[in-house]
Symmetry: C2
Subunit: 382 residues, 2 copies
Amino acid sequence: MVKCPHCQQVDAINKTGIVRGKQRYFCKSCQVHFSFPTAEATRPMRRHQVTIVDIAKELGISKSTVSRALRGQSDIHPGTRQAVLDAVKQFDYQPNLLAHSLVKSRTNTVGIIVPEFVSFFFPKVIIGAQNVLADAGYNVVICHSNESYETEVANARALLASRVDGLLVSHTKETRNFEHFRAFQRRDIPVVFFNRFCEDMTVSKVTVDDQAGAFRAVEHLIQTGRRRIAHLAGPDSLANSRNRLNGYRDALRQYGIAEEPELVISYDLTLEKANIYINHLLNLPQPPDALFTINDPTAIEALQVIKSRGLRIPDDIAIVGFSNDPVSALVEPGLTTVSQPINEIGQESARLLLRQLTSEEKFEPQTVVLPTELIVRGSTVA
Amino acid sequence: MVKCPHCQQVDAINKTGIVRGKQRYFCKSCQVHFSFPTAEATRPMRRHQVTIVDIAKELGISKSTVSRALRGQSDIHPGTRQAVLDAVKQFDYQPNLLAHSLVKSRTNTVGIIVPEFVSFFFPKVIIGAQNVLADAGYNVVICHSNESYETEVANARALLASRVDGLLVSHTKETRNFEHFRAFQRRDIPVVFFNRFCEDMTVSKVTVDDQAGAFRAVEHLIQTGRRRIAHLAGPDSLANSRNRLNGYRDALRQYGIAEEPELVISYDLTLEKANIYINHLLNLPQPPDALFTINDPTAIEALQVIKSRGLRIPDDIAIVGFSNDPVSALVEPGLTTVSQPINEIGQESARLLLRQLTSEEKFEPQTVVLPTELIVRGSTVA
DNA sequence: TTCGTTACCGGGAACGTTCCCGGTGTTTTC
DNA sequence: GAAAACACCGGGAACGTTCCCGGTAACGAA
């Protein structure tokens, strides 16, 4: 009853096992195995995409010609080209970037990994970078590591797998192992760090003059008569929090003020912890008369806590933040803060990456340090 | 001097033109054209990627087997599998997602297009969506249309070209033509609108009860004694600004207050225009005693303007915003506002998309309306 | 023994592009 | 009027995967 598809014989057929749920046969005379295609297994009925060959067939030309017409380059008759363009419109053809990238080995895409983006800073950086990159014809895919090392590694892996041409990163506060970024370097995929960076990786970096900014902030506090200046510092894992701490110390030293260890607290950047430490500082036998925080959200949290305790700002205690978030102008009193050129950070990072992407020869990694500026508002002077 | 590569003859060779900068010859006896490969044209020295076949060659097995081992499925000897895994680690092999997506015709990626993301709202939505999507194994690429219709179209085109499996959109305030989104529908790529949506497209939508929220806000103003309530409305192109306006009108009508046309101003959501109109309202012969704005940034701008004019809030004029941005709790006085479940908007949109992506049969588009809640702060009651 | 079954594995065709290379007319040049 | 140049176009091999299908050895049962 089973007929060999080759010799059409019915006998001399053996069963030879069930493979993937389908009976297989063996024809002894033909010395060949065979099985019968099941009805639905013919094709998974994949939705047909209109491709370059569909256009080619329609116009009776070759796919090479269609490709040439689409890329709008050389070796194409204007008439043919127009015909292709018309057909493309008619069939609503969309080029498949996947195939394109596969053969070109480049995706015209750069990845951006940021640790968070509900605060003002990172979105603004991304927009700055994106504008520059878009002008250069690059797409951008944004990843959000959520301050989690695992997520960051997963993000990096995903970007590597999708073969981005370059990477812009600000790492998480947890990140101490940078192997997932070195994987890009090994493949000659340029990486640029911004804002937060690994000091012992030889990559391009964009940052601001954190130390000088912090110095100016603390100097300003000293010059307005403060002596017990507390500092809520960021985690030690972040270079910029180390630098801001250094700026703080520089100022104290230069003005001959001894550093009180109890006034310097390094924490994990969460508002919960910030709240705890602010209260702790205020509860000290000798509370500080000024507070310099690692960033604006922390300063604003401090502002709320201090006001809720009925203390006067800046009379009883002065506050300085860092980065001049728009909110800092809206709170009452306005927050004195160190502004950084957020948009430029993004733009400069993107430009650095682009230069690296387009340079033919070996590119020397480069570090760009942008200036900071002290913005004085009501939280330090009445 | 020129030898035919076939017959090795030297005479009977003609030049037959220079094509792409290279001399071409014709051998009359072989009846064949030929040219000589230039040295550097051999290969563009493309950096070699380590692929599945490299691993296969190294282990002396076929690429099919390596592929099987990597996908960790059936029909693979545990020993072979382990050997492959070891080699993968040793050679630092990274799978090429482009090739994978090309053959599978799916990218496991969904695109998100938002009109802006410096304000609190959209980043938060994105995070909500991303969490849900990541759990389901999807990657996310975020596009930022910057409230520009052209950019939005470009974004949509790029996402289509890179073959995302689904799309989450909040369109720009300029968008009146939705053809670029219909292109996804034509290809059976599910689209979910959130926050801002096109009413006459049959797609899934996630929104909040704008009308009820606005009603509650205005009702609250009326109940606290206000009668001349102004409304700074959003552009008519956005369904949610229309709905909020409707809620405003409902409340006035229900409480028997006639609508004053001069008190309802629709504008383009920029702070510059907001400032102008706020001042305009305050300069009216009969200025309003309350202001309900389309969103929180506008309300906060109003708050600043009003305070700078020396007017008291809420005594002289009360303010209500919309969406409960974190800033609204920080300004002084605190801003009464209508909160919406921002995170849930993202999550729900993602879930809707996922259901559509995984459902076998035809999926009926669905609209989810999430509740709003009035948050009363100092800008309306002392 | 001999057949049926299981457990693996390899070959090769997709997927949708680009690019190289070689063809064929037609036009220019000497 | 032939040789050289030009203007177009087509074929087919990449790119790096997955998937189908068929092969082979080993083993259990009849």
